[in-house]
């Protein structure tokens, strides 16, 4: 397995993404772009990338705060605040990461998915709304609202969002708005609502934040991972195929 930190520029920042690829692969295969939580590129996103690579996917964990690590919390929050309402900026950040994944010899450009956690899910969805050729997009406890819902008609792949019923950030109103957006645009979409799960349910470190409504949920983490793999099997084909 090859691990490589790759520097690139996006949004005026020096980003450092993390590539994981099985070097024994001889033909191009399915690939996944991973976008980290709002706090920054850390062991959570890298661990997910690692797990996907072990299954045979070519994986690039992009960076959207710069430096390839978690910046101080205030800095991360300020950056999120600055880009949150600017889909063009968000999509450009996603696009830069996607281009790096597509530049890998091991990547089959016709079998690419994007997944993301928390704001990384928002970013993946915006990348899809921008018309990127993604066969599947999966958002885990991802913010679902967008300033430009009409752009959902540009989505070419299948969308899955995995949301905790108790997530204080992704509220029932936000879910309902997303449902309307997807319906209006005729997207192939699903929303899996996990009972009892809060925000950040995929991240074992979430409990340490001490934030109300945030928390790791092992069974939801496993179930939503399984749902993602099922979608990949359907839309990307298995990595060994």
């Amino acid at each position: 397995m090859r691990h490589e930190d790759i520097g690139y520029e996006a949004d005026g920042l020096d980003m450092i993404g993390h590539l994981v690829v099985d070097e024994s692969r001889t033909t191009p295969g399915p690939a996944v772009l991973v976008s980290h939580e709002g706090g920054g590129l850390d062991d959570h996103a890298k661990g997910k990338a690692e797990r996907l690579a072990a299954l045979g996917y070519v994986v690039f964990a992009l960076d959207y705060h710069g430096g390839g690590a978690r910046p101080p919390r205030e800095q991360a929050m300020a950056h999120l605040q600055a880009i949150r309402q600017d889909p063009d900026r968000i999509r450009a950040i996603g696009r830069a990461g996607l281009d790096l994944l597509l530049a890998q010899e091991a990547t089959d450009p016709a079998r690419v998915a994007a997944i993301g956690f928390c704001f990384g899910g928002t970013l993946s969805l915006e990348l899809a709304r921008g018309g990127a050729d993604l066969k599947a997009v999966v958002g885990f406890h991802s913010g679902l609202s967008t300033p430009r819902p009409a752009d959902a008609r540009n989505i070419v792949g299948s969308v899955l969002v995995c949301i905790g019923s108790e997530d204080p950030i992704v509220t029932p109103e936000q879910r309902a708005g997303f449902e309307q957006e997807m319906r209006d645009a005729g997207v192939d979409w699903r929303l899996d609502l996990y009972g009892g799960a809060g925000h950040s349910f995929t991240n074992p470190a979430a409990d340490e934040l001490g934030l109300a409504g945030f928390g790791y949920d092992a069974s939801t983490d496993e179930r939503s991972w399984r749902a993602m793999i099922d979608l990949f099997d359907e839309r990307l084909g298995r990595p060994d195929a």
Partner: protein
């Protein structure tokens, strides 16, 4: 007992319930004991081809599957019969639960069944039947409702649910509108059930039934994609809840 294939046998099983002679359908692996089992409940009109086909598929995967009958005679009702029967049942949750329980009893009487590894699935009003069975406290490790009517006159009974619940709902189902989904969410939350609701974008009511479009009803149709995805989601839950090492519901 009829040998359906090298690995699967089938037979009709008659039993009495609700003052009627019921005709259920069993499909099972042709050999082996200690097997996980699935109870299936047909849709509101009593269409049987679909649940029987699903029971056979489950048997091929190693489950003992029993498609119960809650209308009698093992047959589909006419439109008029359905319009009379469903409101009558819907008004009496005790009767619904009893219909589910009697079907479950038939399944549990099969020697091949591991009683700690039993799930129930249902379609449309059959989803209501299996959910009510779970609300009555039946020892089910997993319950799956496909385009299931989710409402109940006794939401507080959800506290009796012992297994894991999965509701597979089409976003365009006119019989399971958003308000019903929200009430279900509230019910499951209040009772602290292990639950999930999968919302399949664009799917109508009866999305698992290839013959659903025959009746020309608005918002009722087959949807292959949602059918295949929800079947996969059900099997994922079974892998989790009915695996041999999984302790049964206590």
């Amino acid at each position: 007992m009829t040998q359906l294939s090298a690995d699967v046998v089938e037979r009709d099983i008659e039993y009495d319930a609700d003052g009627r002679r019921m005709v259920g359908y069993l499909a099972a692996p042709s050999a082996g004991v200690g097997r996980p089992a699935v109870l299936l409940a047909h849709g509101g009109a009593g269409e049987r081809r679909q649940p029987r086909a699903r029971a056979r598929r489950l048997a091929e995967l190693g489950y003992v599957a029993f498609a119960l009958d809650y209308h009698g005679g093992g047959r589909q009702l006419t439109h008029e019969e359905t319009r009379a029967r469903l409101p009558e049942l819907g008004a009496d949750v005790g009767r619904i639960r009893s219909l589910g329980q009697l079907g479950l009893d038939v399944l549990l009487a099969e020697e091949q069944v591991d009683r700690d590894r039993v799930a129930a699935i249902g379609y449309c009003f059959g989803g209501t039947v299996v959910l009510e069975l779970a609300r009555s406290g039946a020892p089910l490790a997993a319950v799956v409702g496909f385009h299931a009517i989710l409402s109940t006159p006794r939401p507080e009974d959800a506290a009796n649910i012992r297994g894991r619940v999965l509701a597979c709902i089409g976003s365009e189902d006119p019989y399971v509108p958003p308000e019903q989904r929200r009430a279900f969410e509230e019910e499951m939350r209040a009772a602290r059930v292990d639950w999930r609701l999968h919302l399949y974008g664009g799917a109508p009511h009866a999305f698992t039934d290839p013959n659903a479009g025959d009746h020309g009803l608005e918002g009722v149709a087959y949807d292959r994609r949602a059918d295949e995805r929800s079947w996969r989601d059900m099997l994922d839950l079974f892998d989790e809840a009915l695996a041999p090492q999984t302790p049964g519901p206590s």
